[in-house]
Every structure is written in structure tokens, then in C-alpha cells.
Amino acid sequence: MSKKVLIVGGGLAGTIIANGLIRHIGEEIRKGDVSITMLGTSDTHMYQPGLLYIPFGKIRERELFRPQRKVLDKRVIFHIDPATNIDVENKKVTCNSGTVHDYDYLVIATGSRLMPQNIPGLAEGAHWLYDLEGARKMRDALDKFEGGKIVVNVNAPHKCPVAPLEITFMLKEYLEGKGLWDKTEITYTYPIGRLHALEPVAEWAKPAMDEAGIKYETFFNTKEVDPAGKTIESEEGVTLDYDFLVTIPPHNGAEVITESGLGDGGWVPTDRKKLTHPEHSDVFVCGDTTNIPISKAGSTAHFEADTVIDNLASLLTEGRWARDYDGKVFCFVETGMKTGTYVWFNYETPPNPGAPSQMIHWFKLAYNRLYWLSARGLL
């Protein structure tokens, strides 16, 4: 009898897994022994890291999008029908249309979503570039900005933990280019007692910010924003004035996760090595959706997806597990408009960012194009 693999979520993790799995089990698919079905929420696939460049006019919107059907291998059965309930006890997923899918193996890759509304006044008072609408609004507001106090405000949890630093340094160079830096003051706020969760990155960022003339406020957990008075206040009792507020909004997981009782905040408890639900070894969890204490980022999703592909392919063809995930993450870090660095780490190896260089910036720009090969499972 045919085995059914059901993938809930059509983002980076789900797409790499679907395409990568097909490459391993083409023969089984051809014979009808295995089917792969994806339940997505949109007919369009977006390259999310590209949003970083939108407010600065450094990328065209159309470069960020491809039709999901074209990104997916044609042998993947694709429905635009968001899951509304995931029942891992009875191995059934119910969709918006009312259709119920059963499965032999389930992959949950429902991602994360922005929740600026979780902090009073934040949605009304702040700009962000973590979705297209926000990035467009920020671009339009930056066009009109004539100098003043900018606050770059970071909230937890959020995806792509290096993006706040990238935004800060890119903003500075963007404003220099417009001749506005002399009239501008940037203050970067961070929830913990240093400038980045990764200690080596924080150690690099502090002198870099000092040299750039960027101010910072650590131990700053946002309590509320007053959009009329243009102030932002922290739980720790600090209030900052702003003329232009950029926020990294707090994130939650997908609503279907909380509504299905699969995890607080939409984060599914996940075995950090097997990437499965702790009580259901037939349920894989990948990407932002996991509760694993490592970065929520495309890179994480990519390396996790590679492990899920190997294990699923092995289980489907040989009935055995292939390997464990070692916690690997690799992130490019833009350190301005023309320079970049990178970090990599895993569960055992701490990160160690190198000196920023133009070449690494070019590598990141090249990867922005190569992404589509990653999504197809080729890179």
C-alpha cells in the first residue's frame, strides 16, 4: 500500500523537504509506492531575507517572488488549502476547505508570524521590514525622513537574529549616502545585557557601533509604545524618544499549532536531534516551527530540512533512521551596504565571526539569487 508523506507549510523548510525527498525516492514515487502532498497557504513563494534590501531600494520586489507551483517539483501534490487542525493522535490534518488528509509521515513546517500587536502601540508607532507591506511602508517613510532620532528596537522571540544588526548598520550607511547622518541619531535596543544573543557577535558589534556613532540600550524589553507622544518604554523602566521607530516585532508560531494544542505560542516541542515530535516519531517538525533553542532562520530550516530528507528517505526505503541533526546554522551578516561577514555554529561549536569584507557581502548577494536552487533541493 502506498505511503503518504504530508507536508504542512509551503515555506522554505517544507519546500526543500518536498523537493529534496523527491530526488531521493523518485523510483518509489514513479511506482506509486510513495506520495508527497503539500498543504500551503499561498500560490507564491517569497525569499524572505530579500526583504532586508527593500527599504533601501537595493532589490526589486519581483526578485523576491516565484510561483510556488514552479518552485515545487511537479511530482509533489500541492494544495493551497491551509491546515486548520493537526491531529497527531489520529494522524489526520483538516484543512480550511473541510478536506481531511491522513498520512504515514507528517512534516510540520508552518513557520512563524509577526505579532506587533502583542505590545501596546507597537503596530501603530513602528516600522518593520519583516513582511512586504511593512518593508514598503518603511521604504516610503525613509524617503520622507529628514533626520532626527531613530530607535531600532529588538523584541523576542524573532526570526533571523542577525537582521537587527544588519538593519542598523545599513540604515547608517543609507543615511550617510543621503547626507542625513549628521542630523540623525540611532539608538539600538536589545532585550539582554549585550548587543546580540551570540556573545562573539556582540563582542564584534559593540566596538563597531561605538566607531559608527550608534548608541545602544541593553536590557530593553519593550513594554509599550506611545505613537502620539513618540516614545517607547521598556519593562526595565527606560523611556526613549523617537522620530522614526524601527522594530523587530515579537513572533509567534502559526495559529494552527496553538489551536491544535501542539505547543504554546505556536512552537512545537521537538527532539533536537531527530527533529520529531517527542511522542510521535512519525511527525517531523522543521524550521521556525520547532521549539529548539537555536536561531529561527532560513539557514536553520535548510540544514534541518537536509536531516529530515535523509531520515524520511531512509525510513521510506530501508525502514531505518539515517542520521541526527547537529544544530548547524550558517548566517551571512551584512555589516553595511558594501561589507559583510558570516557566522556558523552547531550544538557543540560556538560561533566565531570573521572580519567583515566586501567579498563576503558579494557572496551574500550571490546567495540571494542562488536561493531558488536551495528551495528546489539542488543546493
Binding site: 532585550p191 551570540l198 533553542p293 550544538y347
Partner: protein, 76 residues
């Protein structure tokens, strides 16, 4: 009294144990406790310092076989 929540942040470099704790506390009710595990010795110092600054209570902290732990009670 509800069961104490455990955050296993052993081996976490990014976003790091304190960021995990901050995110978890947002989802908890006042009066609930959370215990964070970390292989990073800095956590034993960072977490109580942060908790004191925000106004949460550090209930317990110490070292177990392969990790440091801190228990924080949400007070506001």
C-alpha cells in the same frame, strides 16, 4: 500550583538561554515558575541580573551534572 516549565537551552548559542527565557515568560501567567538549563556559565549570572532588573524573582540557581540551572518566578 501548575507544573514548573523547563526550558532546555543546553548547547544554545543563538538566540541564547536568556532570550529563550524572555520569550517563554511572555507566554506564562503571573506566579508561574520556569527553570532554564544552560551549558553556558554566563547564564548563571545573566539570568538573575536580568530578572532583578525587570522585577521577576530568582527562586533558585546552581549547577547540576552537565549544566547550570536558574529558576525564575514571573511576578508581573
Amino acid at each position: 500550583m501548575s507544573e514548573r516549565k523547563i526550558i532546555d537551552a543546553r548547547g544554545s548559542f543563538c538566540p541564547g538561554p536568556l532570550m529563550e527565557l524572555i520569550a517563554a515568560l511572555k507566554l506564562m501567567e503571573i506566579g508561574e515558575e520556569v527553570e532554564i538549563w544552560s551549558t553556558d556559565q554566563g547564564t548563571a549570572k545573566d539570568v538573575p541580573e536580568w530578572a532583578a532588573k525587570v522585577g521577576h524573582e530568582t527562586v533558585d540557581s546552581g549547577e547540576k551534572e552537565d549544566h547550570w540551572f536558574v529558576v525564575v518566578k514571573k511576578t508581573k
